[in-house]
Symmetry: C2
Subunit: 172 residues, 2 copies
DNA sequence: GTCGAAAATTTCGACGTCGAAATATTAGGC
DNA sequence: GCCTAATATTTCGACGTCGAAATTTTCGAC
């Protein structure tokens, strides 16, 4: 009884916990549970969006990391792996496929030959410039439920959390 | 130059974009990028924590869903699949392994025999009761960087976002 | 200058998830 | 009461990621 009328899925979960274990303080779930669910839902929505353009989210992620580094759009494999938060093994696989698609080049760093440099091809630059515009429109749409003031409130709170979790700029 | 001194990784990414493409409004990234990164970092931290107890995050997730449903700690396979936001195929696999561990039972619903009911065993109940206490302590620790007032601000903002993304209680 | 440790990437094997097809069960139309 | 469609779960094949081992290159100690 007295089910929260306007609640989300996390409200329902916390109510269940309080019914079964009123002795526990479940308040951290109200934050962490929501972050986790929101991220999952956004991931799905982004995947659907990119599918319209024949790309996977990870493809745009790699291309965008290269593009935003600026001309000559070159980043080492290790930095790409860190930026994407995936293992170096996963990154090798991703680059293989982007090379096959003709969107990036792979070459050895002339001065430090154990490093591998990845660069956007001209086709990769064009593809990224096209994708990023639609991607931002889509992100804007996904945040449509938040008023501008709400977004403004959200940003510093999430920044504080990220910093406390150890998130730092790549090039400190 | 003029790198944000106290920024997180997302600040750095947005600065890169503005340097390369000042014509684009990247403000949605400030929210969505942070949600995505925070979720990834929290996922890793939870995984590390649960590893101390010899369990994977998904194991706790299934056990907790059963436990918070209350006695007799029984939920259908389909509901577990929805709650965990994974495919029914993935859930079959997860239940197989929890059955092998002796933490849950699998039985056919007597009245609707195409449904499969999953229940916590006594060992499963004890394991969950032990895990949830440590899990909440850990979540509390992970949110340590946020002041209580900041958490309080965060919750309704994330709820609004979740609802606008379509998140709803399972038993509407 | 050489040897061993450190660094960067790739290869390898194992694992977990997904979408689609298959299987089993229930509900409705007539 | 059949036959079809809908529902719920499992099976199957393919794919992507991970951790660890292997490979190549660089750096420092001596």
């Amino acid at each position: 009884m007295a089910a929260t009328p306007q609640g989300d899925g996390v409200d329902a979960i916390i109510e269940q916990w309080q019914r079964v274990r009123p002795d526990l303080d479940c308040s951290p779930m109200a934050v962490i549970g929501r972050l986790s669910r929101a991220s999952r839902l956004l991931e799905r929505a982004l995947k659907e969006h990119f599918a319209q353009y024949g790309v996977e989210p990870w493809e745009f992620d790699v291309l965008a990391t290269l593009y935003r580094s600026g001309p000559p759009y070159t980043v080492s494999a290790g930095e790409l792996s860190t930026a994407a938060m995936v293992s170096s093994a996963a990154l090798t696989n991703r680059i293989d496929r982007l090379v096959d698609k003709g969107l990036v080049d792979r070459e050895l760093d002339a001065t430090h030959r154990r490093r591998v440099l990845i660069s956007l091809t001209d086709a990769g630059i064009r593809a990224t410039e096209d994708l990023v515009v639609h991607h931002l429109e889509n992100e804007e749409r996904l945040l449509g439920g938040l008023a501008p003031a709400e977004r403004t409130q959200l940003v510093p709170l999430l920044r504080t959390l990220l910093i406390s979790l150890g998130d730092r700029p790549q090039t400190g």
